[in-house]
């Protein structure tokens, strides 16, 4: 099987940022808590490859730690969505048409109808701005997404013969869902997970930009953009680089999602060949 080009490109970009984030745990060029006002707003040099910001912090180090923040927030938010949504979706599909199914799906419709950004802002406003509350706010909106994908994928599987065989063997609905349905919808969940991951990165950047996400001294791409805005005349570099990081990371994830769908979804594969 040939790997689609978008998948290679996307996975490459994603790995690049994940590696930068991982590296930032053990090494950054300059600690981001190092404020050297004397070196503020330096252009790029041997010591500061991408220059420094208005506090004299090294931009490259900030970007690396920012990658860590973005990825951590998005990964946990996707985790919340999968942990909460998949069991709901599986339960709804297993008891199709029941009151449970109805309640789960209507509840999901309701969350879908909410403008997520507004509610995320509301949550972080009342609970206080922090990376943790941003995760919570983004994660809640991932739950219905995964519930819907899991339910949709599971519904078509429940009609198949091998599920019937499992029932004849005396397995209960919960066990069938876990042992037979879940592995067969894993590819759908992976593709959706990649998409939600990229949306999570964008959401985190937006919340941090308006000051409701990660708080200083934690570096975050959105926060860096907010700081750079007042200096857009004097130091446009500070406004351009963090944004570029967001775009490349999101682009990488989207391409990877598209590529994975092509690779994992047999229907798309057949249509292409």
């Amino acid at each position: 099987m040939r790997w689609p080009l978008p998948l290679i490109l996307g996975a490459g970009l994603t790995l690049f940022f994940v590696a930068a984030a991982a590296l930032s745990f053990v090494w950054v060029p300059h600690a981001i808590t190092d404020l050297s006002i004397g070196d503020k707003l330096q252009p790029s040099s041997a010591s500061y490859p991408l220059g420094t910001d208005h506090f004299g912090r090294d931009l490259l180090s900030m970007l690396m730690v920012g990658a860590r923040t973005s990825i951590a927030v998005a990964v946990v938010a996707v985790g919340i969505g999968i942990a909460g949504g998949v069991p709901l979706g599986l339960a709804a599909a297993a008891h199709r048409g029941s009151l449970l199914d109805e309640v789960i799906m209507r509840g999901n419709d309701l969350i879908f109808a909410f403008p997520s950004l507004v509610i995320a802002i509301l949550i972080t406003a009342v609970l206080g701005p922090s990376a943790l509350n941003a995760i919570l706010a983004i994660g809640i909106f991932n739950i219905p997404v995964f519930a819907r994908v899991a339910r949709g994928g599971a519904l078509s599987l429940w009609t198949l013969d091998f599920i019937l065989a499992a029932r004849v063997a005396g397995k209960g609905t919960a066990r069938i869902s876990a042992e037979h349905i879940l592995p067969n919808i894993a590819n759908l969940l992976i593709v959706q997970g990649t998409i939600q991951f990229s949306l999570g990165i964008l959401a985190e950047a937006g919340l941090s930009y308006v000051g409701l996400g990660a708080q200083p001294p934690t570096a975050s791409w959105g926060r860096m953009l907010a700081d750079a805005q007042t200096m857009i005349y004097s130091a446009p570099r500070l406004a351009i680089l963090p944004g570029l990081a967001i775009v490349l990371m999101v682009l990488g994830l989207n391409l990877m999602g598209d590529g994975l769908r092509d690779l994992l979804d047999p229907r798309v594969r057949r249509a292409r060949s």
Binding site: R106, D109, L110, A113, F114, P115, S116, L117, V118, I119, I121, L122, I123, A125, V126, L127, S198, L202, A205, G206, Y209, V210, G222, L225, A228, Q229, I232, Y233, P236, A239, I240, G243, I246, V247, L248, V250, L251, N254, L255
Partner: protein, 315 residues
Amino acid sequence: MLRFAATRLLSLTLSLVAASLVIFTVIQVVPGDPASFMLGMNAQPETVAALREDLGLNAPLSARYLDWVGGMLSGDFGRSYTYRVPVAELIRDRLWVSLPLAVYALILSTVIAFPVGLIAAARRGKPADFTIMGATQLGIAVPNFWFAMLLVLFFAVNLRWFSAGGFPGWEAGLLPALKALTLPAVALALPQASILARVMRSALIETLGQDYIRTARAKGLNRRQALIRHALRNALIPVLTIIGLQFSFLLAGAIIIENVFYLPGLGRLIFQGITQRDLIVVESVVMLLVFAVIVVTFLVDIAYAVVDPRLRHRR
């Protein structure tokens, strides 16, 4: 059709009730005591007690909820604690910035996306299609507030064509006001146009594979005629849905963009409310935005059923 509309209306009402309950709970219950939350840590107990009285917090929760909802239904959104004016007045002023901005952006997004999606579908698999798909992929990945900053950098700082922010008000005349909204609208529209163009393309490609297109071609229409006369009409259903959803997205997305451009719209009102801990303002504006989103979604649903009778019987 009537039955369809009735069930949709019922679910609309339920959604609104549920939404108001959620917002009420988050604002009135989560911070503990809203009065002490609004006044901060160092408030005098007497001041807190006075504000509690003023906000009617001594009444039971259910009575406060009904009071709030009843007030909104009659156009009374309460009184802003910091501005000392009715919230309805604040909202009315701000709406005249946010609503035109969202409509402006929606028009831009549609005007850009239609021809782009059409060209991509007509030239499927050709370099033009490839370029458009690449560009829209990039457009989706760009955060709109960052794009807004780039627009400011380029058009306001370097070229000096536009001001970097602010709003002269509609009293200053239509053109200056529209000019002030142009960069924000473009920033909002670009990612939406990218999504819409992709939806347009795939909807067109799907309809182009239908039998009636083959029939139309067999009748002697060329590819372009078949595309414009038959495929376009039928591809509009998914496109209309996305446009409907985008409106609410634009209204909500404007929250951040308004902050980039210092526009005195609903978004800035929310943030001012948050920083000043004016929960009355935050509560009402959030409810209003959620209301707008839910109602627009409902209208799109109804519009569909009018356009496509098959949908009336499907769930």
